[in-house]
Symmetry: C2
Subunit: 331 residues, 2 copies
DNA sequence: GAATCTTATGTAACCGGTACCATTAAGAAT
DNA sequence: ATTCTTAATGGTACCGGTTACATAAGATTC
């Protein structure tokens, strides 16, 4: 059942049926109603592929994130999908799993599939992926990364501010509470680097890098105990990711370290479980839902107004105080 | 840049270029190489829309789940996406957010978009969604739901067995440890009903229904304390969802209830955080990754072998014992 | 050397729509 | 009555590929 069949039944040309489908005003009312009835009776649905090919518009947006099982991205994706669906767009989703080649392949694939626009959370800003995206003629929005490159709109969380908030919180404590300050962060990623920059702008901590997972956090604890004697010196830990922070916490508790008595912890992300772990985490909250919402609205705006000026969004973060590092009156 | 341009440059017809693109053997080697070079030089990529329209095949699979921010679905989706991408298929994703109308709209939309097949985790088995899916001519696989309906392949976790495992665990305890047994479950969903069936087949508990979220679990605690005096009678709680179980746990701990001393808890799902909450949860493990992998492989198989017999998969579950209900020597 | 078979390539219809331009008929203006 | 508008519809090229069929050139057979 296609547009020709409908036209034949109605005794009109396919052009007229096409006009009815497009709600064109240039169709006599009686004709329109007759055709609409035929369309309904045969529950005919126009073929999107043919339509897309002809209109050069697919109403689909490609989305690429590093990992989808991660609840942070889950919240973002969920919101993106809601917004896109509201506007009758379709979401085509891929994940890079932190592998640059997969990311690059996903981008190429989406371009081949003629998506109308893309939302990408890139692994790195200096990469083949970014270069091919820059050359592409469709609108692209970078998620979770900021760049001056005028080819892209960006939506990020203000990680610099987040890092500073964490530092400010520690600085607000009596100095007896922070005889030693240690920061734990992961691999080279803009978000993490900015968090560290925001923090070190205020405080110079000892830094551990390449600690990426819950297990990494857990395994780091023996080192912290022997190298930093954190059970003897009042220590503050800034950990740039709540998941890792929970691993560290678990490790510390297993060694009978008192949190926050001996060691204070401050994490980053405020995922759902940050408030539900053994010692609820003081942390920096991001707004993944809001990021997703803005990203989706912005890419649709870019698609529908191609000449519009690109924008860079930086969403504010918020300090959430919980038991792992409560407030105290200053000195 | 399209196939005609390439043909013009090469001085051949578009049919020949098409043959080169399709790796047809009926092209002279010298011609093939010449055309391939031209394709590379102009980095021409065939238009997928046109190709799909003509071939009647899109290499895309529609996936619909109830919610994507949920880590359980996150793990499934991640695996589905990996498998599909490996086989050069694209994933088009929607979520129903537990709203039947959204689910129905998502299905219609995907059918309109000519996906080659669909993986759907339906809200209910008796619904417009299922009926439209049954009528559709493309292969459909139901996730997380079992039905005899021969129109669908199914991939579920063996929830009946899971419920029984939970009951068996409780029955293995000295009876002094289980003076009272209470089950807490959510809204009417096949997975949850089966878990309860599996459990009640062995033990008849008092049942609380419609407890769906962490907060619901938290709020249930006062009732449990007053109506069931669970701090006075040795109680076993079977909670059909770990997230809810964590809410209940939090509520109990706030009321100084000793877990597992006064109250034992057994959850369901074994999400990442089940082992990291205040009192790590004894729970029933499902294999979302495996479900995703099988679902994706199966739908691809169905797409590529349309005549193949449909299959119903039921994945085994496993009891994970943790502090919230440890083993004890039998009587 | 004619007949036959292969192999490589071209031609054109087709997938299912959209949209520009042409045509027609009816009503308005002259 | 004739010409001009205008509204409704039809005809058709096009989007960018695939593919069945036709054809020409070269290889094989007798």
């Amino acid at each position: 059942m296609n547009i020709n069949d409908i036209a034949a039944i109605a005794g009109v040309s396919k052009a007229t049926v096409s006009r009815v489908l497009a709600d064109s005003p240039n169709v006599r009312d009686s004709t329109r109603e007759r055709i609409q009835k035929i369309i309904r009776d045969n529950n005919f649905e126009p073929n999107f592929l043919a339509r897309s090919l002809s209109r050069r518009k697919t109403f689909s947006v490609g989305v690429i994130v590093e990992e989808m099982a991660n609840p942070f991205f889950g919240s973002i994706l969920s919101m993106i999908e809601n917004v896109l669906n509201d506007k009758h767009y379709t979401m085509s989703l891929s994940s890079s799993n932190w592998v640059k080649e997969k990311e690059f392949a996903a981008v190429r694939n989406m371009i081949r599939n003629s998506v109308d626009g893309m939302i990408v959370s890139p692994i790195a800003l200096k990469s083949e992926t970014i270069s091919i995206l820059g050359k592409s003629s469709i609108p692209v929005l970078l998620l979770n990364n900021y760049t001056d490159n005028p080819a892209f709109s960006c939506v990020t969380s203000d990680n610099l501010q987040g890092g500073s908030l964490a530092a400010d919180h520690l600085l607000s404590l009596p100095s007896s509470e922070r005889q030693q300050i240690i920061a734990v962060t992961g691999f080279k990623h803009q978000t993490l680097e900015e968090r560290m920059d925001g923090f070190t702008r205020r405080i110079k901590p000892e830094v551990y890098e390449e600690i990426n997972t819950y297990e990494d956090g857990l395994n780091l604890v023996p080192t912290l105990l022997t190298r930093n004697s954190i059970n003897e010196i009042k220590t503050c830990l800034f950990i740039t990711n709540d998941n890792v922070a929970m691993g560290v916490q678990e490790g510390l508790l297993r060694h009978q370290v008192n949190i926050p008595g001996d060691v204070r912890m401050i994490g980053y992300d405020n995922i759902d479980f940050s408030g539900r772990c053994r010692v609820p985490l003081t942390t920096i909250e991001q707004s993944p839902g809001e990021m997703g919402r803005i990203a989706a609205m912005e890419i649709l705006d870019m698609i529908e107004n191609p000449e519009k000026e690109l924008r860079k969004f930086r969403l504010p973060t918020r300090l959430i105080i919980r038991e792992s590092s409560p407030v105290m009156p200053g000195e």
